[in-house]
């Protein structure tokens, strides 16, 4: 597979994944851009791996979790994590909770937990594969997902 073929096939999915991770289209774009630059520069190594797609997803996830020092991290810091400027919708009837509320709770979770949630509930991956992407044990995946869900449930109880 060439880099071009890979980008044709997977760039859209990676962008969607990055949007779920960051909760913000601009940050998602930065994150994907930085990752894909490295992917292209080191394409031979990426292509040599058993599953290039998983390898790249892993790179992207690591970069997201490891946000402290990277170039895009600084931009994230400047922008702040939680977008409070979005006014909450007044129509509570449409959903049990406000639509933007889940998003803001999500953005307050530790990045690793958030990534685990996205991988399970958006990408619908089995725990084994999630563990591989996050570079940890299956048990760690399960515990961080259950911790994240518990946090979200607590928030939910508070508003309802």
């Amino acid at each position: 597979m060439t880099y071009e073929e890979f980008a044709d096939a997977r760039l859209g999915a990676l962008l969607r994944y990055a949007v779920m991770l960051t909760g913000d289209p601009h940050q998602a774009q930065d994150l994907v851009q930085d990752t894909m630059v490295r992917v292209q520069l080191h394409w031979r190594r990426v292509a040599r791996s058993d599953a290039p797609e998983r390898y790249v997803r892993r790179m992207l996830t690591n970069q997201f979790i490891d946000w402290r020092r990277g170039s895009w991290a600084r931009r994230v810091l400047l922008r702040g994590d939680v977008d409070d400027s979005v006014p909450a919708s007044a129509d509570h009837a449409q959903s049990a909770v406000d639509r933007d509320q889940v998003r803001s709770w999500l953005s307050r979770l530790p990045r690793r937990q958030r990534a685990a949630l996205v991988l399970r509930y958006y990408e619908d991956l089995p725990d084994g594969e999630i563990a591989e992407i996050l570079g940890c044990a299956v048990g760690t995946v399960r515990s961080s997902i259950s911790r994240a869900l518990a946090t979200l449930r607590a928030e939910l109880v508070e508003v309802s």
Binding site: L15, Q29, L41, R45, R68, R103
Partner: protein, 348 residues
């Protein structure tokens, strides 16, 4: 229930996914500039097969500096040691009566000799010690005491590093600040590129962001700065790695390491300020092995620690450390660095 909310939130988020086209174009543009820059670096470096980082700096100065009349160091080619090598470099501050290892740098020379990896170990990293934990640099002070035996401090630190990382330390050296100053001046100054300005709390000096050439006094001043940096001691470690990379670059450009006459002059000048442990390796063999790896731009990574100061020191990051150490032991630091770009220190 909460799971459904989550799926719904993700589905709504999906609508805000940016279009693919502009991202793809931006990636291609960035790749072109990066490739161009890389080529320039390579051109600058290829002509000279060089420079065992500070190694030449460090290595060569055995405890007894070679006499001026001694045969040139590199005259007799020796078989190069095979496999990966790990070298330990300590930068020591002995200005305040006691001696502290301020910078602890593990230089990893991969088996393929493609480049050097500069691994900064924070001096405040908590390591197992009899009866609990202690800072990595406490091992040095304890062994040295108030005496002048830098070699004892080095041996103790070497042991602690070997225990911590599980790799064998093949050789190493201790450089004091006066030694670093002389070394810097002897090679004609060292280029250092800083991402952010640094202001000295010891002198009036200000180091602007960007690339600059430092003379000996300025280099030492920079190496001592810790206060006011965003990450304190961790940022100082990054600056030490930048200095080592700059020293390497400078020696490469001047051909210092490949020119026996130049090298000899350098050794005589700074020999007394450096303590060296060549391990089982002979000096020429060590220089030969590192010289090839030193011809490429090095990669600097920091030992993964939790960014929060826990009151006594830095704790190893429980999630990243195992993978990092596996990579170090298995000679796969390149892959690790590629997967953890945020842990790589920018050198230019």
């Amino acid at each position: 229930m909460i799971e459904d909310e989550l799926r719904a939130a993700f589905a709504r988020l999906e609508e805000s996914t940016p279009p693919v086209g502009p991202v793809r174009a931006a990636v291609d543009r960035a790749v072109i500039t990066r490739r161009r820059r890389r080529r320039r670096v390579r051109l600058a470096g290829t002509a000279l097969a060089v420079a065992a980082v500070a190694l030449v700096g460090f290595t060569a100065m055995a405890p007894r500096p070679p006499a001026p009349t001694a045969a040139p160091l590199l005259a007799t080619p020796e078989p190069e040691p095979g496999g990966a090598l790990n070298l330990l470099l300590l930068g020591v501050d002995q200005s305040a009566g006691s001696r502290r290892a301020d910078s602890v740098l593990l230089v990893h020379v991969p088996a393929d000799r493609s480049r050097l990896y500069l691994v900064s170990l924070p001096r405040d990293l908590l390591v197992p010690a009899p009866g609990g934990t202690e800072k990595l640099n406490a091992t040095f002070s304890r062994a040295t005491g108030s005496g002048t035996d830098l070699a004892a401090g080095y041996r103790a630190t070497r042991q602690a590093v070997a225990r911590l990382t599980g790799v064998r330390v093949d050789a190493g050296a201790v450089l004091t600040y006066p030694g670093a100053r002389d070394l810097t001046d002897a090679v004609g100054g060292v280029p250092v590129c800083l991402p952010e300005p640094v202001r000295s709390v010891h002198t009036e000096r200000r180091f602007p962001a960007g690339c600059q050439r430092l003379d000996g006094a300025a280099a030492v001043d920079l190496l001592r700065q810790r206060y006011g940096l965003r990450d304190g001691g961790l940022d100082r470690d990054r600056n030490a790695a930048r200095y080592a990379a700059g020293l390497l670059r400078q020696m490469r450009e001047r051909g210092t390491a490949t020119d026996p006459a130049q090298l000899n002059r350098l050794l005589i000048r700074i020999g007394p300020a450096v303590t060296v442990d060549a391990g089982d390796l002979s000096l020429p063999a060590l220089v030969g092995a590192t010289a090839r790896a030193g011809a490429a731009e090095p990669v600097a990574v920091a030992f993964p620690v939790l960014a929060e100061w826990n009151g006594r020191g830095y704790e190893a990051d429980p999630e990243l450390t195992p993978g990092f150490l596996d990579a170090l032991r298995a000679d796969r630091l390149g892959e690790w660095a590629a997967a953890h770009p945020a842990r790589v220190t920018g050198l230019r």
